[in-house]
Amino acid sequence: MKYFLLKYPLEKLFHGSLPKYYHQLRKVHLIGMICTLCCCTDFVEIDAPKNTLVSETVFQDAATVESALANLYYNLREGGMTSGTYGMTTVMGIYTDELDYYGFGADYLQFYQHNVLPINGIVSDWWSQAFQLIYATNDIVQGVRASTELSSMEKNRFEGEALFVRAYLYTLLVNLYGDVPLVQTTNYLDNNNVARSNQDSINNQIMEDLERSILLLNSMEPVSTEKIYPDEYTVKALLARHYLRSGNWERAVTISSELINLFPMESDLNKVFLKDSKETIWQLKADNDFPKNTREAQQLIIQAVPSQTYALSNDFMNAFEPGDQRLMNWTRSISDQDSTVTLYYPYKYKAGINALESFEYSVLFRSTEQVLIRSEAKARLGELEGALADVNLVRSRAGLSNLIAHSQEDVLEAILHERRMELFTEQGHRWLDLKRMEKAEEVLGDIKANWKNTDLLLPIPENELELNPNLLPQNPGY
């Protein structure tokens, strides 16, 4: 309990000026003190209202932490870089050679035409949403660690999931924006003027987060049989991706091999994206009420021509080898009334808005990608045979003959091609591949008239630079 005295303004104003009465004032002062014996800060402390929860309270109950985690997955599905609507699937699709853009959105046109401005709405939305979720993961990590009510099992799972989401968002941010701020606290005063960290330190942090996450989630019972929450294997899948990107080939091979064994590839192309697909490692469950299925299907399936927003580019369609079953099963065409225009659209997700049931969820990690990761890692290690075997695994499922190649360069070229045909319009893989294999300029330079080398990174949102000058300088070229 604290006492406070009536020091202001009585003493301050009277002192010196009216000394004659000062003794009397001291008497008053004393009376004041007696009066205030019962005044205390405790009185003005209140409980939280019922429609909101104070952060601290959230982490005293497993159910409310579940709700805080659910917020992460919901937001990954509905907004930002991973969303099916304006996420990397579509936007990086038009930025590369996968998709053509037929809409009128200025922000999208900037991506399509490679003249992205720092005021671009998508650039700033991806940025904001990512940090909003990073704040949420930081608060969960911090809250769960401090919690006194959760069991250690619960703590492990919650922290593991939150660390994974944080790492996942950072892998995407680093890929898109280069050096970004490393935010690990919830203190807005620090985070409001945080500076950018170099990619190495962010990569180290990603690695650290993922390794800790694996430890925490290790051999934990799955929360759901639908693979809609990230688990130990999801973390490993991201880790394999990350090792490949950072050149840690041996480890990439080890981890992807483990996952390939656990999540066998679906032999039927039409089952790959169903919600109970065997090869799915992690997917985001679709909304129960609407659209019941994926935002991707809603976005990419063309209902009528001309009212399309996206269509597969000719360049991409021409890249299909004759006999590729994926052309038949994973794309569709549609023509206008006079049949003068025919457009192709991705048909991996087939359940559109009219579907009455949930058939498909948005897949973020599947084992075919792991096969291609292992293939690439082996190729880098010089194990060309093994690398080819993995590529041929993917090819044979698509009904294509086995490839024979001799040089490492040829094998890598084949892998890049295979990734293109296998992973198209899935979370912007094409862009990440072109960057990783340093082929962006070679491939896009011809297609995109405005191509510049500096297009490898997106600009830091203009508004953010204004709010926090510590983020300066802007990425080159913007």
Binding site: M1, F4, L6, Y8, P9, L10, L13, F14, Y21, V28, G32, C35, T36, L37, C38, C39, T41, D42, F43, V44, E45, I46, D47, A48, P49, K50, N51, T52, L53, V54, S55, V58, T64, S67, A68, A70, N71, Y73, Y74, R77, S124, F131, Q132, I134, Y135, A136, D139, P181, V183, T186, N187, Y188, N191, N192, V194, I228, N288, E464, L467, N468
Partner: protein, 1010 residues
């Protein structure tokens, strides 16, 4: 004592117990008194100067705490010693001190106090002070002002009476709200409402209305102050400057309004009955187009859109039913139909009062029934019961005052205000009822406005106030007192929307449309304020010291829910019958407040006065470590007319210079804003509902600060028959709580925090009171007040990048509107043109809205006259305001759309070369930009809305009576009877076309007491 200290939350409870046990303490003290010497009984009569008996005069024996009150016939009886001294006193009369000198009959004449200023005692909340000795700015509105006005809300009665206080009625409907601003707007965000205190209990004036329920009829605002019957008010004091408000610390920034209710008078038990009837009507109708004008403009507009050919094709008739399907000769004055009725209000009041010199009581109850100017039988009913008991012990050491008030309001209004429809319905719209008396839908070609009478809006409000004030004189100089107050405000309102109220052509059914929205809200608060008061006088000095502390807690909760889809409309009021129930909000809030306050008042030789006040406040609305704040003020006055060199001056009878400087704050920002919170969003992932971070922990969240400075000169001439009070104030508000944009890396886009923006309010206030004629029969008094305010945003760092960039400009008032600059109609094209500020040949929202107009009044005030002649008396008040406001162009600027418009739009451009004020008509069917929308947001939509209004006039006749006990008065009162204005719109006081303007009202009433 240590236990007492550790008992935390129980301390207020212990305090209450302690205070409640005080009476017993006082009786113990009384038991030991010494026996008095033998007494003589003294009788006599007290009369006025004219010989009329004077009742209610207080007669006290100086040597003891003993007294009597003169009866209605002026007689009194008192026991005293032969060598004692009697003191006769009464408000408004000079106090007389009479030596008994062994007499047993003493009759005296009381002399009216002409200046009366010495007797005006101002209630400053925690203390009282005579007007002459006051160092602060406190305006008082007395009961006689409220008694003479036929209004429903105390704020309505104050309009025009107080300098520096700007009150605007938001709707002419009974039970609606008022906006009040004392000395301008201080804060960028949040409310400008002052702190209201009713009989010592802070009364939250914030509406608990839900816009989903009452938005379309009351604008969501339901003033809790409606619960106070203006006739129950003894006085309202408005505390304006730092000296007066600093003792309210963090809640004083926007000023303080103290409402004191009437108390019982000692003397014979009296019954007073009061009955009145009021008729109210809309005072001004807009000039709208008649059918011919309307149809001409419509046809022209459709042709201008390029559909002139289709107009003749019967296949397209359904596009323009007003032109093709409805009778073209029909004319209805919809203003007459929809808002042209007469609203009646009947008021009944009965009160009982009386008591002796130790105990007085007052019990009053009133009932009011008020209808509207709308069709239908909507009504507002208010029942009110109030009691006040005052008691003091025989030795006058202990006193207790209990005041209780309970009000029930029941407001059944239509769900929508018909004003908009009255101004916009097509003049040839079909008749409301068909031959059988059913709602006419005219083959489903229109939305019958009266169908909404099938919908129900109801608000039931229960308000309870209770306050006890106990005081005990510990010694001659030291007094302990405390008030213990409680208030409970409940609002239960609903809105039912049955499908039967909708056009059958829409195909709505009870299952897919009918809905019922309910708002249940409640707010309770309690307050305990123990105080110690020390008063002592020496030869030249007077000292008055006060120390006190406040504990207050307020809890509020609100549940807004809607039932949707019913088997049939008859079941609509039963939520269990609803197919789905949606919860819109389920909120609660807790507010705790703790303070220590004090005052030192020092007078030297009746000439030099210093008043020092301070408060340390703690509020639960702020983060740990920031909960407490210090506030204080210094006020000083010099009564120079009491100086020796002025005594000889016959003309100047009173002269005072006073000045004050003080700091106050505002915590009026809502609860829990500093917390890091998670909120339920309503979405889910895998059927797990989401919790989203919605608040970032902000320990720096602190008070908004407000510094008030005032200098005033008070002058009285000719025994104060002419009295002028001139004051100048300068208030600066800083540390503004606003949304500060955050970098995305924080996880949030905005944070409510203290921002370094400063708002300055300066102004002059003049108050003039004159007693023009004073004689036995004829009396004439005049009051006049004038306020010249100025508001300025002094600084705002980063305004351009903030969310306020389109609203405020540094160096301009907060009340500005940023507009397009209209350049009139291009005679060639017939379209509105605007100044292209950025020269990009395109008129775009932010860059080209550079024209600035201030919507705050330039000056305002009131002129009152009060004349009494024998049994007759007359009072009138003119209110005036110089201001700019949105005119009718704000609502519609292009003629030819479906729906009627002001007749002024008929003067439109029709052919090349026309110089017309209005652009060519359009039917609203062509695509592209409607320049009328820009015109509505331009300076052309703002014009002079100054007015002079006969706010109130009252004529009172006291019927001569042979029986001295009987008092019978008849009166006639008028409200808003006459308005002089050039304003182009419904009413200059409330410039909106969607709300019913304040009504013109006439009241006839009588009052009888015996």
């Amino acid at each position: 004592m240590t236990k007492f200290l550790n008992s935390k939350g129980k301390t207020p409870l212990l305090l209450i117990l302690y205070i409640l046990s005080m009476p017993f303490l006082s009786f113990l003290l009384r038991a030991g008194k010494i026996l008095d010497p033998p007494q003589a009984t003294i009788t006599g009569t007290v009369t006025q100067y004219t010989g009329v008996p004077l009742a209610g005069v207080n007669i006290v024996v100086e040597s003891k705490y003993k007294g009597a009150i003169s009866d209605l016939d002026g007689t009194y009886q008192i026991e005293a010693n032969a060598d004692d001294v009697l003191i006769f006193s009464m408000v408004g009369y000079k106090t007389q001190i009479i030596q008994i000198n062994g007499r047993d009959e003493i009759s005296i004449q009381m002399e009216e106090d002409v200046t009366a200023l010495e007797e005006v005692v101002l209630n400053a909340g925690y203390y009282t002070i005579s007007d002459k000795k006051s160092t602060g700015s406190i305006a008082k509105v007395k009961a006689n002002i409220f008694d003479k006005q036929p209004v429903n809300n105390p704020l309505a009665a104050m309009q025009g009476h107080v300098a520096g206080v700007n009150i605007v009625q938001t709707t002419g409907l009974p039970g609606g709200g008022f906006n009040i601003e004392i000395r301008g707007r201080n804060f960028l965000n949040g409310v400008s409402d002052p702190l209201f205190i009713v009989d010592g209990v802070p009364f939250n004036s914030q509406s608990l209305g839900a816009s989903r329920v009452s938005g379309q009829i009351m604008g969501g605002s339901i003033s809790p102050l409606n619960a106070i019957d203006p006739n129950d008010i003894e006085s309202i004091e408005v505390l304006k400057d730092g000296d007066a408000t600093a003792i309210y610390g963090s809640r004083g920034a926007n000023g303080v309004v103290l409402i004191t209710t009437k108390k019982g008078q000692s003397g014979k038990t009296r019954v007073e009955a009061h009955v009145s009837t009021t008729m109210g009507q809309v005072s001004h109708f807009l000039d709208l187009m008649n059918t011919n004008q309307y149809l001409e403009v419509r046809r022209e507009g459709i042709a201008n859109d390029g559909y002139g050919d289709l107009l003749n094709d019967p296949n397209y008739d359904f596009f323009w039913p007003d032109v093709k399907l409805w009778e073209n000769e029909r004319y209805t004055n919809w203003q007459e139909e929809l808002i042209g009725g007469t609203a009646f209000r009947n008021n009944y009041k009965l009160s009982l009062s009386g008591g002796n010199d130790l105990t007085q009581f007052l019990i009053s109850s009133s009932f009011q029934n008020e209808t509207t100017v709308f069709p239908g039988d909507s009504k507002y009913q208010k029942a009110n019961i109030r009691s006040n008991v005052n008691h003091q012990s025989e030795n006058r050491r202990f006193s207790i005052n209990l005041s209780l008030g309970y009000t029930n309001e029941n407001n059944t209004m239509p769900t929508v205000d018909f004003s908009t429809k009255a101004y916009t319905l097509e003049p040839n719209a079909p008749k409301i009822y068909d031959e059988e008396g059913n709602i006419n839908w005219e083959n489903n070609t229109w939305d019958n406005p009266l169908a909404s009478l099938d919908e129900t809006y109801n608000a039931e409000i229960n308000t309870l106030f209770a306050n006890t004030l106990v005081s005990y004189k510990l010694t001659t100089n030291l007094k302990f007192q405390s008030n213990i107050g409680f208030s409970d405000y409940r609002l239960d309102s609903y809105r039912s929307m049955p499908s039967s109220a909708r056009n059958p052509g829409l195909g709505v059914t009870p299952q897919n449309y009918s809905n019922h929205t309910i708002n249940n809200a409640r707010r309770t608060s309690w307050i305990v304020e123990p105080q110690l008061n020390y008063k002592k006088g020496w030869d030249l000095w007077e000292l008055d010291v006060l120390v006190g502390t406040t504990f207050q807690e307020e809890v509020s909760n609100q549940l807004v829910q809607r039932g949707l889809g019913y088997p049939n409309d008859g079941l609509i009021n039963n939520l269990t019958a609803a197919e789905t129930i949606e919860i819109f909000s389920d909120t609660d809030g807790e507010y705790k407040y703790n303070a220590l306050f004090g005052r030192v008042h020092l007078e030297f030789m009746d000439k030099y006065i210093i008043n020092l006040t301070g408060r340390r406040d703690g509020s639960s609305r702020f983060g740990p470590g920031r909960q407490f704040g210090n506030f204080g003020a210094l006020g000083a006055a010099w009564i120079f007319s009491n100086e020796g060199f002025f005594k000889e001056n016959a003309a100047l009878s009173f002269g005072k210079i006073r000045a004050s400087y003080g700091t106050t704050g505002s915590d009026n920002i809502g609860d829990y804003r500093f917390l890091d919170t998670y909120s339920v969003t309503g979405n889910n992932y895998n059927n797990i509902s989401l919790l989203e971070p919605t608040g970032v922990f902000n320990p720096l969240f602190g008070w908004e600060a407000n510094r008030k400075m005032e200098v005033a000169l008070e002058l009285g001439w000719l025994k104060d028959r002419i009295f002028i009070n001139t004051s100048y104030y300068k208030n600066k508000s800083s540390n503004q709580l606003i949304g500060i944009p955050l970098a995305a890396t924080t996880g949030f886009s905005e944070l409510t925090g203290n921002f370094d923006a400063e708002v300055e309010n300066t102004g002059w206030e003049f108050d003039l009171r004159t007693i023009n004629i004073q004689s036995n029969k004829l009396n004439w008094k005049t009051t006049f007040n004038l306020t010249v305010p100025r508001n300025k945003l002094v600084s705002f760092e980063g305004l351009e990048t903030s969310t306020f960039s389109n609203r405020y400009v540094v160096g301009e008032p907060l009340t500005i509107a940023k507009l397009y600059h209209s350049l009139g109609v291009d005679p060639q094209t017939g379209e509105y043109t605007f100044e292209d500020y950025n020269g990009d040949t395109d008129i775009t929202s932010t860059e080209d809205r550079q024209w600035i107009e201030d919507l705050a009044p330039t000056y305002y005030g009131g002129l009152g006259n009060s004349i009494s002649f024998g049994s007759w008396s007359m009072d009138m008040l003119f209110q005036f305001k110089k201001q700019m406001a949105y005119n009718t162009l704000r609502f519609v600027a292009t003629p030819g759309f479906k729906g009627n418009t002001p007749e002024s739009l008929y003067d439109r451009w029709t052919q090349t070369g026309d110089n017309a004020p209005i652009q060519k008509s359009a039917g609203g069917l062509a695509g592209g930009q409607d320049l009328g929308a820009l015109q509505r947001d331009s300076d052309a939509a703002i014009s002079d809305a100054s007015y002079v209004r006969l706010r109130n006039i009252s004529l009172n006749y006291r019927v001569p009576s042979s029986h001295s006990d009987l008092d019978f008065q008849v009166y006639l009162q008028g409200q808003n009877l006459w308005t002089w204005t050039n304003y182009d719109g419904p009413d200059p006081e409330q410039p909106a076309s969607t709300r019913l303007p304040p009504l013109r009202q006439m009241t006839l009433g009588f009052k009888i007491s015996f």
